[in-house]
Symmetry: C2
C-alpha cells in the first residue's frame, strides 16, 4: 500500500509556456528524469538549431539525481542529451537502439567517454531498474521507431505510469504490438498518475496501421515503370524496412543517400531491428548506371530540410544524382507543422524537373506513430489512474487529452495540464499545483548552448526586420565634433535614401552637440543622439533600425 | 473567322519561377492586362509585406497598354494596383465591388485622384468592353467573394477565355451560380486558349457547397450556450452573410471587430451584396455588457495574423474585449500555406484562456472558393479550347491542371505551363514559347516599392542568421594605426566571447597592418583585413557575421 508521502512531478521544456520533452520525478530529495528531448525552432532563419529545456533547476539539484531514463530514441526525447551532459552527468538508461542512438550522438559531440550509459532489456519484461526509492518497470509499446517503451515507476508514495510515445497498432509490421498484458497488470496493481502522450488527441478514431502503409507501398511500386525515389524520416526503421521489402518484392535494388539515414540503418542492422536481403543494396553511383525501372533511391528530406538529400536533388545540387523526367518521388511522411512551405517548395521543384510526386494526401503511405482518440481512451481504461496528466503536446493537444480523460470518467479535478516548470505535488488522496521552478528555454547554435541566447535572438529579429545603422562620432574631450561622423548601414534602406539620411543625420548631430547639456557625459550624449536619430529615421521611414551611436574620443583636444 | 495573326500571352509575377497574378495579352503592339495581384512573402520576419510582379516590361511598353481588367477583388488579383499606379496609369475596369475595393485601397494610398476607374456591369451579361482590337465579354462566376467574373477576350486572331477564380457550386447561398449558359456560348463560338484557375487541381471531386457551410454554422451555433466568437476572411462577404443569418436565426446579436472587416461590410452593404437585418448589430462595447449567450463576435484573424483582432484577443491584448472561459471560437477559414504555425499558436492561446476552438478540421465550416478536379475538367469541357494554359497556382498545381486537360482529351502539345515572364505566341494553328521578357519580383515595405529590395533582403537574411561586426580602424595617411579600433557588434555572440574576439581582432589588425603591402590603398587594405577577420571568426564559431571593416583616416599625420 502506498504511504502518505508526497511525490512531485515537474514538467520541463517546451515552446512558450507548455511543458514537454522532459519530466522530473522527485521523492524525498531524490530525483529521476524521464526523457530529455529538444524542440525545433519555429523560425529557422535565425541560426538557432534546437531548443532545449532550461536546465538550471537540475544543475542546482544535481546531487539528488539518480538517473535519466529514456522511452525511445526520437529527437524530442533524446535530443537534449549532448547539452545536458555539459551541465549534469547522471547515469543514462534506455533500450539498446535508444542507447545506440544516444551513443552515436555523444560520439559526434566528443562526450562519449564522459557518459554513463546503461542498456535496459526491452525484451525482458521482468527486468526492474532500481534507482534509490524508485523501481522502474518497462513495457514494449508500438511507435514509429523500434524499441520504444512505456514505464511504470513504483515509489513508496504510489505508482506513476509514463506512456512515452505509443499507438495501439493491431497489425504492426516488423515491430511488436504494444504489450496490453503488462499495461493491464500495472493498472490492476493501482496507478496513482498516468502521464500520457497527447500528440494526436485531436484526431478521432485510430491511427492507420503500418500494414496498410506496407501494402500501399508495394502495390504502388508495382505500377511504376521508371525510377522510384522515396523520402522518409531517417529514424523510422520500421518504414525503412517496409520500403526495402516493397523494393525487393517488385524487383528493384535500393541505394541510400543521406548521412543520418545511412548511420541509422547501419545501427539498426547491427542490433537486428532491420533485415536487409543480401544483394539488395547498391551505391548511388551503381544505381545511376542501372535501368531506372530497377532502382529505388531511399533518402532523407521528407520535411524539405534545406541540406537533406531530396532537397538537394530537387534543387539540382545533389552531387551524385539528378532527377530524370519520369521519376516518381514518394514522401512517406507527414508534414511537421512549420515545414509545409519548405515541403511544398521541394514538390514544386520536383515537378518542374519532370518528376511526379506522391505524398500522404494522395495515398496512405504514412502512418503516424501516435495514438488517436480511441487509443488514448483505451490507454486510460487499461491503466485506470487516479490522476491524469496529459504530456507531450501543445496546449491544444493537452486540452483534448484532458477531455478524453473526462469522457472515460476521470473527475475534472483529477486531471492536470502542466505548463513548463509547473510542480505537481501528489499523494494517495490529493494532487495539487505547488508553484513553479525556474524554467524557460535554452537555445542551441552550431552544436553549442548559446549564452545570452534570448538577447542575441532578439537582436537578430530586429536586424532581420530593419537592418542596422551604426554611427561613430569623433569628438574632443570637451564634446566638440572633430572630423566627420562615420556612418555604416546594411539591410535598412537603399543607397539613394541612405545617402540623404547620412547627410541629414550629420546635420542633426552637429545641432544636437551644439545644444546638448551633456557634452562631457558621453553616455548621456550617446543616448540623446540616439533618440534624436531614431525619431528622425522613424519619421522618414516608419521603421527603426537597430541603431548604435558611439561617441569616440579618438584624440585628445591637446594633441 | 480568326485570321492568321499572332497573339501573345505573357504570364507575370510569382514566387520563384512560376508566373501568376498578372496576365498580359498583346496583339499588334496593343496590350491589355488581366488582374494585378500580389503574393505574401513566405518569411514575414524580414519586414517585407508584399511581393508584386516586376513591372519594367509594362513600363517600357506603357504607350501600348489599353487597359487593366480585374476578374474579382481578392488581394492576389488587385493587390499590386497601388504600386502599379506609381509606375504606369492604365484605365482600370472591374465590377462594382471589385472597383470599390480598389478605390478604397487607392484612397488609403493617396492615389485615387490619379486613377482612371471604370465599372463594368457584372449583371448585364451582354455588355461588351471594347479596347482597341480587343472585345471583352464577361460571365458571372461563383467564388468566395461576390461580383467575380470570367472573361472572353475576342481578338482578330482568336478568342481567349480567362476564368479568374471560380467554382461550380450547385447550391450557392447569397451569390449567383456560375453562368453555364454563357460559358457554353463562348465554347460554341470557338476558343483559341483557356487560361484557367489551378489552385485546387490537386483535390479530387468537387468543392463543398456554401449551403453546407451555412447549415453547419447554424446547427452548431444552436448548440452553444455561451459566447460565440468567429473569425473569417474580411473579403468573404458571402460567408459573413451566412454568419449574420446564423446569428439572427439563433437569437444572437453581432458585434464586428477589425478595420478591414468593418470597411468591407460597409462597402458590401452599400452595394447591396450583403443584407444585415435591422437591430442585429452592436458595438463591441455593447456586446460586452450583454448575456454572452446572446452574442456573436465576428472578427479578423483567421490566419493568425499578428495584428488581427482574434490574435490580439488570444494574447490578451485586445483593447475592448477578453476571452471569457466558456467562449467558443470558430475559425471559418482554412490555413493559407505558411500560416499553420501562427494559427496553431493562436489556438493554443485560446485554449489556455479557457475557450474551445472549432476549425474546419472539426466541422465543415469553410468551403474553398476554387474549383476542384471535377470542376476544372467541366470548365475545360464547357469551353473546349484548342490550347490550355493553367494559371494561378504553384508549379505543382499547374502540373495537375495540365494532367486534367490531358484527361479531357487536349493533346499534350497544346498545353502550356508558363513560368514568370514566359511569352507564348498563339495563332489559329500554332502555339509556341517565344522567349522571356525581363521578369522577377518587386518587394513592398511599409506601403512602398523597395529600391534595391533584393540586396537589402539578402543583407537582412544574413543579419538574421549571424548578426554583424563592424570595425572602424583609425589610421594615418601612411597606413599606421592611430589609436584604438572601434568594434561594434550585435546578434553575433555573447559578451564573454565577443570581448575575447575584440582583443584578438585588434592584435590581428596590428599584425596585418604591419605586414600589408597595401598600407596606402585603403580599399585593398579593408578587403585584406576583412578576409583575415572573417577567417578568424569562422574558425572560432563556424559562422561568419556580416562584417564591415572600415579604415578611417580620421586625422592627417600632419595634424
Amino acid at each position: 500500500m502506498p504511504n502518505n508521502d508526497k511525490l512531485s512531478i515537474i514538467s520541463l521544456g517546451g515552446r512558450g509556456e507548455v511543458g514537454k520533452n522532459m519530466i522530473v520525478i522527485e521523492y524525498k530529495e531524490q530525483i529521476i528524469i524521464l526523457d530529455a528531448g529538444n524542440l525545433f525552432p519555429e523560425d529557422n532563419k535565425t541560426g538557432i538549431e534546437l531548443i532545449i529545456p532550461d536546465l538550471s533547476y537540475l544543475k542546482e539539484n544535481e546531487d539528488k539525481i539518480l538517473g535519466l531514463i529514456f522511452s525511445h530514441g526520437h529527437e524530442d526525447h533524446i535530443g537534449a542529451v549532448p547539452y545536458l551532459l555539459q551541465i549534469i552527468n547522471p547515469p543514462l538508461y534506455g533500450t539498446d537502439l535508444t542507447m545506440a542512438l544516444i551513443e552515436s550522438r555523444l560520439e559526434d559531440n566528443g562526450l562519449l567517454e564522459k557518459a554513463n550509459l546503461n542498456t535496459i532489456g526491452s525484451e525482458n519484461k521482468t527486468e526492474i531498474l532500481k534507482l534509490g526509492p524508485f523501481e522502474i518497470e518497462f513495457c514494449p509499446v508500438n511507435h514509429s521507431i523500434p524499441a520504444a517503451v512505456a514505464m511504470c515507476i513504483k515509489t513508496p508514495a504510489g505508482n506513476i505510469v509514463y506512456t512515452g510515445d505509443y499507438k495501439f497498432d493491431q497489425t504492426p509490421v516488423d515491430s511488436p504490438r504494444t504489450d496490453y498484458q503488462t499495461l493491464v497488470k500495472w493498472g490492476e496493481n493501482g496507478v496513482l498518475a498516468l502521464l500520457g502522450d497527447s500528440t494526436n488527441s485531436e484526431h478521432e478514431g485510430h491511427t492507420i496501421s503500418e500494414m496498410v502503409v506496407a501494402r500501399n507501398l508495394e502495390e504502388s511500386f508495382r505500377l511504376i515503370e521508371q525510377r522510384i525515389i522515396i523520402a522518409t524520416f531517417s529514424s523510422n526503421i520500421i518504414r525503412i524496412q517496409q520500403i526495402f521489402k516493397a523494393a525487393v518484392k517488385t524487383g528493384r535494388k535500393i541505394a541510400v543517400s543521406g548521412y543520418s539515414m545511412l548511420k541509422t540503418i547501419e545501427m539498426a542492422c547491427r542490433l537486428g531491428y532491420i533485415d536487409i536481403p543480401e544483394g539488395s543494396v547498391l551505391s548511388i553511383d551503381e544505381a545511376s548506371k542501372m535501368d531506372p525501372g530497377k532502382v529505388v533511391l531511399l533518402m532523407t528530406g521528407s520535411q524539405g530540410e534545406y541540406r537533406a538529400s531530396l532537397s538537394r536533388l530537387a534543387r539540382g545540387e545533389h552531387r551524385e544524382v539528378s532527377i530524370i523526367p519520369g521519376d516518381t518521388v514518394y514522401l512517406s511522411a507527414s508534414a511537421i507543422p512549420g515545414n509545409e512551405v519548405a515541403i511544398s517548395g521541394t514538390i514544386n521543384l520536383l515537378y518542374s524537373k519532370g518528376a511526379t510526386v506522391i505524398d500522404d494526401n494522395k495515398l496512405d503511405i504514412h502512418a503516424s506513430g501516435h495514438a488517436c482518440q480511441e487509443e488514448i481512451k483505451m490507454m486510460i481504461n487499461l491503466i485506470r489512474p487516479k490522476f491524469l496528466i496529459p504530456v507531450h503536446g501543445e496546449f491544444r493537444h493537452l486540452y483534448h487529452h484532458a477531455q478524453l480523460g473526462r469522457q472515460t470518467g476521470i473527475p475534472v479535478e483529477n486531471i492536470f495540464i502542466m505548463l513548463n516548470g509547473d510542480r505537481l505535488l501528489l499523494s494517495v488522496n490529493k494532487a495539487e499545483n505547488k508553484g513553479k521552478i525556474k524554467a524557460g528555454v535554452t537555445y542551441i547554435e552550431q552544436g553549442n548552448i548559446m549564452e545570452e541566447g534570448k538577447t542575441i535572438l532578439k537582436e537578430r529579429k530586429k536586424l532581420a526586420r530593419n537592418g542596422f545603422v551604426n554611427i561613430i562620432i569623433p569628438i574632443t574631450t570637451k564634446g566638440s565634433l572633430k572630423g566627420e561622423p562615420v556612418v555604416l548601414s546594411r539591410g535598412f534602406t537603399n543607397h539613394r535614401e541612405l545617402s540623404t539620411f547620412i547627410k541629414e543625420s550629420k546635420k542633426r548631430i552637429v545641432q544636437s552637440l551644439d545644444n546638448s547639456k551633456h557634452r562631457e557625459n558621453f553616455e548621456m550624449l550617446e543616448r540623446e543622439l540616439s533618440n534624436t536619430l531614431t525619431n528622425y529615421f522613424f519619421e522618414k521611414t516608419g521603421r527603426t533600425p537597430l541603431l548604435i551611436v558611439k561617441v569616440e574620443e579618438l584624440y585628445n583636444e591637446s594633441v
